[in-house]
């Protein structure tokens, strides 16, 4: 039989019998217009069914993972939530990436598995709510299926590692029970979930479920997928997003054997950025990548700049600095607690500083690419996307196909960091595929990838703190200028700040008089979501500034931070929720204790700290550096995090260590600069991710065991790494770095 159990108003658990005696439990949302997938179709058509558990007769448990895996470990963690709840044997679990779940609802798309998104930091919180129910139902059914064979009532049966076990020790494997379980009548109401003391997998370490395939080179990214007889397209984009093609001679390219076509692409000005071609471009389509690259080299191209041809990142920064130093009204006053102006009159001490942070690229290791097979009634795509639904929207608009005629497959992704929430490259791939009668792979070379991105804007932060006689920060005045990542994306002007600064960020709510102003800059450079924003730029500025306050007060920055945080209490957040200062204090103390903060004053090396909170999670870094001449060495990096319940400690530790290193690498070396409207960095040589030697040899990760629902962790450790580093550098060198990238500025100031 098949049936459904209601999970919430719109979501249902669904049970089906598969071929060859399999039990299948999935989650579907209501209003699916398409008929249920016939059970006997399910043997091979895994992609056709929802986020699911499938127990095969041989005991293998297949778990589908709905969210794209960009390397955050989400596929492993989601699967372990289900596997734990059903007491599966992890050794017999296989995790499969699910494609986009879409059905046709009178021609409109109906998303079968709810939101599917990766690298946005909320996979875990969303999954926690409903994945356990799927596991619990599978377990409930398997136990009932065992009753007739074991001759014991269900309440006397227990489950362990893929077996249902009777009091005397007699046991039946899940595989043997799967077929019968699929025929069991469904429970009348909702099921009780495990209590934490019964967790076997949640909270225990596990490596990436795909690790073996990765180290043997078997994991296929979109770039590694093949359709038969596929053409390859490489592009030359206009250096200016608003420029145009003024001359094209493709004869030499077309004369190369194997070059099939040369096609011009243009952005559609009526579409939002990220849904159309990013800049005018010429594509060379050829029989293979090597021929296409030679074809591109043989093109004779002339581009004409648009209005952005005069833009420069240096001029934009000057404009930003002038704005925040002027009396001009801010674009948005985010927050104005107390009375800043009155507080200024009580000043015992005033501290001021300005911080400059550069533009950044996403620089995913796997460049933008997309594999498409198009015909009149279907489109099949392998897309490295963090938002399969958004990719679908782009494909649908360009093909006019019905919702379920579009098959978006999302293999493992070689890094996302927010770049793959935009789908310009999918639009390009589909437009080009329409011009040929074979499948087509769009492939961006590294230079195209670095020079045509949705960048993170550079920004300037200005702070003023008023300190009263007892060293309390009485007032905090903050002015931030940047070009919003949301501009041109249909977001109202009075909300453009939200990608740039948070209304609740530290120390808002900790200081009686607090003002936060944001000034919007206009820029033609494409901009978009970027990993860790808006926290990463703000934490660098805020936590550096607190260190400067400490220096001004001639005291240990740990003391200054703890005084600013104050007593353990809950500080309400605008828009809901509260910051638990006890948890913030805890991570700060854990990190500083571990690094040996008591030596702060006397250590030959420099010690630096920073703490932050976001979305219910808390983080602190403590970093130790040494300097010999101009050589900076990061001797130690400690990171303490509190994310509530930890699903996979090994995965979390990897995420925290990884984010720490990524943030350090970025802070040390990276900047995108624009001159005459053109991005000046086009290879790893001039966008140099940190080498092994520049990075610390270990990252000591401390995770606070928690009971609360899990918070997202994929970029939690990013914001505090850079300010802890800069603060440590100040301690060892007496040079205050207020401009990133740090190495360039440090060498300039030394």
């Amino acid at each position: 039989m098949s049936g459904t159990v209601k999970l919430s108003r719109r979501r249902f658990l669904q049970v089906l019998a598969g071929t060859a005696g399999a039990l299948i439990v999935g989650i579907r949302s209501a209003r699916a217009a398409s008929a249920l997938v016939p059970p006997d179709m399910l043997g091979d058509a895994l992609y056709d069914f929802g986020m699911f558990v499938r127990v095969d007769a041989d005991g293998t448990v297949l778990i589908g993972s709905r969210d794209p895996e960009t390397g955050t470990g989400v596929a492993t963690a989601l699967a372990r939530i289900i596997a734990d709840e059903m007491d599966a044997d992890w050794q017999r679990v296989r995790v499969l990436p699910l494609g986009l779940g879409v059905a046709s609802d009178n021609g409109k798309p109906h998303w079968l598995y709810g939101q599917q998104a990766g690298g946005t930091g909320n996979s875990m919180p969303r999954a926690w709510r409903d994945l356990r129910s799927a596991g619990a139902l599978a377990r409930w059914l398997l136990i009932r299926a065992a009753v007739p064979q074991l001759g014991v009532p269900p309440e006397q049966l227990r489950t362990e590692k893929g077996f249902v076990i009777a009091p005397g020790g007699r046991r039946l494997g899940y595989g043997e029970l799967a077929a019968a379980a699929a025929k069991v009548a469904l429970p009348p109401g909702s099921l009780l979930l495990k209590t934490p003391d019964h967790y076997n997998l949640i909270g225990k370490p596990a490596g990436d479920a795909e690790a073996r395939a990765i180290v043997t080179g078997q994991t296929e990214y979109a770039l590694d997928k093949h359709f038969g007889d596929t053409l390859v397209a490489v592009l030359a984009h206009c250096p200016w997003p608003d420029g145009q093609l003024s001359g094209l001679d493709s004869s030499a390219a077309l004369a190369i054997k194997g070059v099939v076509k040369v096609i011009e692409l243009k952005p559609d000005p009526h579409l939002p950025p990220g849904e159309t071609v990013i800049a005018p471009a010429v594509a060379v389509i050829a029989e293979n990548t090597w021929i296409a690259l030679q074809g591109r080299r043989a093109l004779k191209l002339q581009w004409k700049p648009g209005a952005s041809g005069s833009e420069s990142s240096a001029a934009l920064e000057q404009q930003a600095t002038a704005l925040i130093n002027s009396d001009a009204a801010p674009t948005t006053r985010l927050r104005d607690d107390g009375d800043i102006d009155k507080a200024k009159r009580k000043a015992a001490r005033r501290v001021e500083a300005i911080y400059y942070q550069p533009w950044l690229a996403h620089a995913t290791n796997e460049p933008m690419n997309c594999l498409v097979r198009l015909d009149k009634t279907s489109a099949t795509l392998y897309v490295p996307t963090q938002s399969p639904q958004q990719a679908w929207t782009v494909v649908q608009r360009l093909t006019g196909l019905a919702p379920d005629q579009i098959d978006i497959r999302v293999p493992r992704i070689g890094g996302g960091y927010g770049r793959r929430l935009d789908h310009d490259y999918v639009a390009e791939a589909v437009l080009l595929a329409k011009e040929v009668d074979k499948p087509l792979r769009l492939f961006w070379t590294r230079d195209e990838d670095l020079t045509h991105d949705f960048y993170r804007s550079g920004c300037v932060h200005k702070f003023q703190a008023i300190i009263e006689a007892k060293r309390q920060v009485l007032a905090w005045n903050q002015r931030v200028a940047s070009a919003s990542a949301l501009a041109g994306r249909g977001v109202p002007v009075d909300h453009l700040w939200s990608s740039e600064v948070s209304v609740n960020q530290f120390p808002a709510g900790f200081v009686p008089n607090y003002r936060s102003d944001w000034f919007g800059l206009s820029s033609s450079m494409p901009r978009g979501p970027h990993r860790g924003m808006p926290h990463i730029t703000n934490a660098f500025a805020v936590d550096s500034f607190i260190d400067e306050i400490a220096h001004s007060l001639k005291e240990d920055p740990l003391v200054t931070n703890l005084r600013l945080i104050g007593e353990p209490r809950l500080i309400p957040q605008q828009g809901g929720g509260a910051v638990d200062t006890a948890r913030l204090i805890n991570v700060l103390k854990l990190a500083t204790d571990r690094i040996g903060w008591k030596d702060w004053l006397h250590s030959v090396n420099g010690l630096g700290l920073a703490c932050w909170y976001m979305d219910g999670a808390y983080v602190a870094h403590a970093i130790e550096v040494s300097m010999q001449g101009e050589k900076l060495t990061i001797e130690r990096a400690v990171c303490a995090v509190d994310v509530g319940r930890v699903i996979n400690p090994m995965g979390l530790e990897g995420q925290v260590a990884g984010a720490t290193l990524d943030a350090l690498s970025t802070a040390l070396n990276l900047a995108i600069t624009v001159k005459d409207g053109k991005v000046q960095q086009n290879s790893w040589k001039d966008y140099p991710l940190a080498s092994m030697a520049q990075l610390p040899r270990t990252v000591e990760v401390i995770t606070v065991p928690g009971e609360g629902d899990p918070a997202g962790a994929s970029f939690l450790a990013m914001p505090t790494a850079a300010p802890a580093l800069a603060n440590a550098v100040f301690r060892v060198s007496a040079v205050r770095v207020r401009r990133l990238p740090l190495m360039k500025e440090l060498l300039r100031l030394l």
Partner: protein
């Protein structure tokens, strides 16, 4: 188990006799291949487009970043910077050949160490790290931190500290294996 992990396979391969056509003969992961196309084609595109052996990744046009490393006669080499014309008579090992290189399909201790240390972020750069680390271990049975610092690979997910641990773990395991 006295086995030298550095040893490359000398697996006999049967070649079906075909009409002789001029080309470049080479071995990839112990199998013999004849490339009859453009001798200027970089090895990376031969592996990926012609053989669909996709473990070796594209990192950039200049081969910097190390995603495209393979072993050519035991030396870590950028596949995008190596035209097929330079590979006549050479033995190429890609990430797909690391396990098979021992002849039994088992993982090499280095691969096992990457799994045990979870030295993987998105995994895209992992094949390149494995190849560079393999060359290092073949040269140096007991690499120091400074030796490991010399690896040319780049990673945005931040797997460097875990790769360092994995190399040390593999070195220890390989020493153990040689003694036993």
């Amino acid at each position: 188990m006295a086995q030298d992990h550095a040893a490359l396979p000398a697996k006999p391969t049967e070649i079906t006799p075909t009409p002789v056509r001029a080309g470049i003969d080479l071995q990839i992961n112990g199998e013999r291949y004849r490339h009859t196309g453009d001798p200027a084609m970089p090895l990376l595109w031969y592996l990926r487009d012609v053989l669909q052996l996709d473990g070796t990744k594209y990192g950039g046009e200049h081969g910097d970043g190390g995603a495209d490393l393979v072993l050519v006669n035991g030396k870590a080499t950028s596949a995008i910077n190596t035209p097929m014309s330079k590979l006549a008579g050479k033995q190429v090992i890609t990430v797909e050949g690391l396990a098979d290189a021992r002849g039994n399909g088992n993982l090499h201790p280095l691969q096992q160490a990457f799994i045990d240390e979870d030295a993987i972020g998105c995994g895209y750069c992992t094949p390149g790290w494995l190849i560079a680390s393999m060359e290092l271990l073949n040269r140096n049975k007991d690499p120091s931190d400074n030796d490991i610092d010399g690896l040319p690979n780049l990673c945005r997910c931040g797997c460097q500290t875990r790769v360092r641990q994995a190399i040390k773990r593999a070195a220890a395991a390989m020493k153990q294996g040689t003694k036993a």
